[in-house]
Amino acid sequence: MIEIKNIHKNFGENHVLQGISAEFKPGMNNLVIGGSGSGKTTLLKCIVGLHEPDEGEVLYNGENFTTMHFRERVPIRKQIGMLFQNSALFDSMTVEQNIMFPLNLFTDMPKDEKLDRANFCLKKVNLEGKNKLLPSELSGGMKKRVGIARAISMQPKYLFVDEPNSGLDPLTAILIDNLINEITEEYNTTTVIVTHDMNSVMGIGDHVLFLDNGKKWWEGSKNEIAHTNNKELNEFVFASKFMRAARAKL
């Protein structure tokens, strides 16, 4: 489980996060939603340690991650998998080398075993046989899937996903959502997904956190969204005619 307590983050005069607290439980898809510039990605980066919060704590299974030194963080980092918005695959490495990279650095597995693991992860994301391709030879959706395969190669306890559906067609977006959901259920990972895609929210949002202007405005599940009276959330979620019509039918 991940707990965040009273997270504040400033960039100069810009107060990006203003006292966010939440709990992210294992085996659940925890979605952080909000408009552009609401602080979603900054919150995610504070949780994984890419940004240091100015105030507040991030606890991984009760261990205070924020006060840890670089070396003390390594054991927790080895349990973290992350899919970046643009996949962040290593350009100079093939698909297989990308997936095997954390295994090469942090395990003493024999090469065959590492290859087996890489092939297993590729099979999981339906990219069997694409081992030798370079990231530049992959489509956007394939890159995301390789990113997921790399993220799960170390069998993480925590999975972080930044805008998994950005730039993808609706079918591929659903495929990625389903894949993340499957991994969360199968490995009982604590999954935190930053998104502003309402299809994802309604599809896999076990636990949803709504941010606006750096503050948490609402927290609940996908089933509760349609019935909430929270003005800010309603303006965000039901901004389109389609969503308003869908809500009316509920």
Partner: protein, 243 residues
């Protein structure tokens, strides 16, 4: 300026932390050696031969007095090639070739979140990305300078063979005449220092890139310009101290 110097020194300290796995870092050092060393060989061959030939022709042109033996041309070409042309000119060219490549490679990794991905995995990103490049620069740039010296002196020989200003026998005699080994020491110290300057400054510029493609280009340009300035500055200091 002091802020940047502090960041630079801290980055260097991070770069030389104990590696997570030696074999992975070693493979990276080998890859960088091929990229920096073998990849730069062509340009070094071309500039060295031409610089050696031009240095010989120009020295011969200036020493027209009958009181000065022709062998002096070989001696002057040798000293200027070993002391200045090969280490400094080659390093300035390598700052453009190797330095811009390092800054843009690391800068691109920064703006495409690849460095973030390394950090999330628990990898010491400066160590993994920068130390192999510096180690490679410290070994390959001196080797390239040795190649450059040999080819520069060969270029001088070819210039003599192609013209009647100085005979090849005089040139070869001049090369071995009154040789002072300290110039080789100066050449070695310069090339090692320049190798460090090029790789570390350009890696620093790339590592702290933020923004997009435009900023990556700017970081590469800054890396090359600062490296060139520091090479010339270090050239002066080393020459003053060792000669």
């Amino acid at each position: 300026m002091f802020h940047s110097l502090g960041k630079y020194l801290l980055l260097l300290r991070l770069s030389f932390r104990k590696p997570e796995k030696f074999s992975v870092y070693w493979a990276e050092v080998m890859r960088e050696m091929v990229s920096e060393g073998i990849g730069s060989l062509g340009i070094i061959v071309i500039i060295s031969v031409f610089i050696g030939a031009v240095a010989t022709i120009q020295t011969a042109f200036q020493l027209v007095s009958g009181f000065i033996p022709k062998t002096v041309v070989g001696g002057i070409t040798r000293d200027s090639t070993i002391l200045e042309f090969s280490p400094t000119i080659s390093s300035l060219v390598l700052a453009g070739r190797v330095g811009s490549s390092i800054a843009s490679q690391i800068g691109t990794m920064r703006v495409t979140e690849q460095i973030d991905a390394l950090e999330i995995m628990g990898v010491n990103a400066p160590g993994y990305l920068i130390s192999p490049k510096i180690i490679s620069g410290l070994t390959m740039i001196p080797l390239l300078v040795i190649v450059s010296v040999a080819l520069g002196l060969t270029g001088g020989y070819l210039a003599c063979a192609a013209s009647n200003d100085v005979s090849t026998a005089d040139y070869l005699a001049g090369l071995t005449d009154s040789f002072n080994p300290v110039i080789v020491t100066v050449c070695a110290v310069k090339s090692i220092a320049f190798g460090f300057i090029i790789t570390s400054i350009c890696a620093y510029q790339g590592y702290y890139t933020s923004g997009g493609a435009l900023e990556v280009g700017q970081a590469a340009t800054r890396g090359v310009v600062y490296s060139c300035i520091m090479i010339l500055f270090a050239d002066l200091i080393i020459s003053r101290m060792l000669l």
